[in-house]
Amino acid sequence: MSTSTIKVTIDQHEIEARPGETVLQVARRHGIDIPHFCYHDKLSISGNCRICLVKVNGLPKLQPACNLGCAPNMVIETAVEQVQQARENVLQFLLVNHPVDCGICDKAGECRLQDYQHLYGPKQSIARDPKHHKRKLYDLGPRITLDNERCILCSRCVRFTREISGSNALGIVERGNHSYVEAEVPGRFDDPYSDNVTEICPTGALLSKDFLYKCRVWFLQPVRSVCTGCARGCSIKVWRRSAVRQQHMPGTDSAHVAYRTTVFENAEINGPWLCNKGYDQHKWMARERLLEPLVRGRAGTVAEALAEAKRLLESARNPAVLVSSHASNEELDVLQSLLGGVAVYVHRDWLPVEGEVVEDHLLIRADKNPNRAGVVARFGEREFDATAGHDVVLAWGEFAGAPPGAAHWIHLSLFGTPAEVPATVVIPVSNTWERRGTFTNFEGKLNAFEQVFERPAGVQHAADVLRSLAS
């Protein structure tokens, strides 16, 4: 079954490379760590950091593994003195001007430069000259702060804006040691994918302003989830305090705070990228929401709300259910099992808002809801028919206004305050971060999310509410 693989040896391990693979690529595929800053497998090869230099038998000079194509019988050594010295040299060179900001730098704990310094670096810098000063805490744009001193000019961010997002917003200006990263329009890093540069930056040069100084990353733990911003359903990491790092101070509720959202690399769906709306998910999910049920505009208990809702549904002539495109597949399965002959319509909770990218070449989809495909697969594509004379509507999801024509509606509310969408009965239900589940994206791909937080006390799981109403 062999296509032509190429046999190479790395550190005495014989491995098979695919045609066209570089030494760095085949090494990574086999779990051999060759350090690299400027290489990224989704970006063009830059070969400028020089920390990936390896020894190739028969060649006098060290070669950059990121640019070295595998050739038959190539013998590569990475553990030899010459290579170790070369790695240490690169780190010495970077230390000449890189400010040792670790104590005040957000990147500490997840910084490639820091990691390599521990693994491969010198015990001490031999430079005696004062470090060159450049801009620090510079507003590259409204979302990103840039520290040009920390930057090692790997050019990953620049290549990202040219090759992936296509914004061409970043460049490296000036020459030699004076070079620095700059936005095409200074102060306005205009790119709906801008936050990805904070992920790919190997140092603390590019940081999220939203996360700046909020928390040390080693106090946090990421939970895998799915972005609810559009029908792509990119995988994300939601960062909360780890169990052993809860703060025990009165007045803090840091146990229920999501400190930041970053990308979860998912080769099937979003690769290593996430749009800014995805990076903002923690702000989005912290929106104001209703935390207690309402019955005819007044606060009530869960039991009262359920009782009233049941009464309305039982006495309805022509009830209908409007199903949220944010419901998980598991919740939809529960609804499907309980329905009987009630009319079901699919609801678009969110349409594109003014100023937001509608659809693009990379990730963003015009459908701003994560699970329309899941709803349609179970219930079809019909949208709410105001002329059908539904007198009681069970409206599940987020609504800008009452379903037209309904005398009564029972709102299973995901977010939203009572003033915006007055309904006869409002029962707040849990959001995506308060349970596990799956969504189906616009390509029909399934994506799973884990539970990040416990639901607040007055908020119910929609599945439980539906079972109660059906019984």
């Binding site: 040219r162 061409n168 917003a169 970043l170 460049g171 490296i172 200006v173 000036e174 020459r175 700059e182 095409e184 329009v185």
Partner: protein, 159 residues
């Protein structure tokens, strides 16, 4: 934010464009930057953005070129920009004395412009005049085998 160029300059742009095969559009970056530099004495970042628009390419790449090559000035210079070579052959043949003489004569330091805006004094790297060192450029003109008397004559002869 770009600044419009006068039509005479745009005609020069068109003439330059015709010299290159059409598939080589980004090759126009340096010639057009030179064109603006020669016309105005300097090229601003806004000019670079305008050039990018004319070529039809991302502006950041023209800004990068503007800032990376040392012949482009981003601010107005004196009427005569004196560039004295300070590299090895010229150093061995007295470039430091040339600089000292000019500093004294013009009353400015390296990197400065005279108050009347007539002269800017700079040091540059090898001009390939090593056999006729020490050498300098005044705007585009080379002056070689310099000594103090010759420097005085050159300065006096400038209109």
């Amino acid at each position: 934010m770009s600044t419009p160029f006068p039509s005479a300059l745009l005609e020069q742009f068109d003439a330059i464009r015709r010299r290159y095969p059409p598939e080589m559009k980004t090759s126009l970056v340096l010639p057009l930057l030179h064109c603006v530099q020669d016309a105005q004495g300097h090229v601003t970042e806004a000019d670079a953005v305008t050039i990018a628009g004319y070529i039809g390419m991302p502006a950041i790449q023209v800004v990068e070129a503007l800032t990376w090559y040392s012949m482009f000035d981003r601010e107005p210079q004196g009427r005569y920009v004196i560039k004295v070579c300070r590299n090895i052959a010229c150093s061995l043949r007295g470039s430091e004395r040339v600089v000292a003489h000019l500093q004294k004569k013009l009353g400015i330091g390296v990197g400065e412009t005279t108050a009347d805006g007539r002269f800017t004094l700079r040091t540059v790297e090898c001009l390939a005049s090593c056999g006729t060192a020490p050498a300098m450029q005044v705007n585009r003109t080379y002056h070689e085998q310099l000594d103090e008397a010759k420097l005085d004559r050159i300065l006096e002869a400038l209109p």
